[in-house]
């Protein structure tokens, strides 16, 4: 089995601050990792993904994430957040059987 854990349920920052949302996974084999964003009242939207190659991947709207096999992590970062980045962020893992596991989500609040 595999699990995805997001250690912070809520994160609050000011506009212009940098932010890191944490994601750790437990699985011994090859894994596909991704991040999704959910604005209030909407479905989830894809941000970025990692499967192999450069461990730092770029996504939309200035988001990036870094894969670390040694730490079993795939943390999401943004250098300077905007109030419109306020949303719930989900980390997801897939091991190739097309069964995606999602974390519990981190609610990001950006204070203008």
């Amino acid at each position: 089995t595999q699990t995805v854990s997001q250690s912070d349920a809520h994160v609050t920052v000011f506009e212009g601050d940098s932010v890191e949302l944490r994601c750790n996974y437990s699985y011994g084999g090859s894994i596909y990792l991704s991040w999704y964003i959910q604005h209030h009242g909407h479905g989830l939207q894809f941000l970025l993904k990692y499967y192999s190659g450069n461990p730092v991947v770029q996504g939309v709207n200035g988001f990036e994430a870094e894969f670390s096999k040694s730490d079993s992590s795939f943390h999401l970062r943004k250098a300077s957040v905007h109030w419109s980045d306020s949303a719930v962020y989900f980390c997801a893992a897939c091991t190739g059987y097309q069964n995606f596991y999602f974390g519990k989500g981190t609610s990001l609040t950006v204070i203008p």
Binding site: H42, Y51, G96
Partner: protein, 112 residues
């Protein structure tokens, strides 16, 4: 671009009632999913299907049935609605395991 349409958007049923949620996608994706989203618990997989007439159970399949009679549609049936399963049900689809998952806007289930 494609779209995933979930109907109805809001579903109110009585305890013990059998209820069906519908999902249509026009991406021509092979794999479709049903997730349940409870507040503070993230997304939990109920059923998924990798092709027409295929069904795979997720971690939360007990109390639910699913049907994939056509490639474009995937329905979920709550066999006997219970008050503790009031949640948002999300339908999703993807081409394959290492690609983006597209989500519908959800069906909010209320059991009275």
């Amino acid at each position: 671009g494609g779209i995933i349409t979930q109907t109805p958007k809001f579903l109110i049923g009585q305890e013990g009632q059998k209820l069906t949620l519908k999902c249509q996608q026009n991406f021509n994706h092979d794999t479709m999913y049903w997730y349940r989203q409870d507040s503070g618990k993230g997304l939990r997989l109920i059923y998924y299907s990798i092709t027409e007439n295929d069904l795979q159970k997720g971690d939360l399949s007990e109390g639910y049935d699913a049907s994939r009679e056509k490639k474009s549609s995937f329905s979920l049936t709550v066999t006997s609605a219970q008050k503790n399963e009031m949640a948002v049900f999300l339908c999703a689809s993807t081409i394959g395991g290492d690609t983006e998952v597209f989500f519908g806007k959800g069906t909010r289930l209320t059991v009275v």
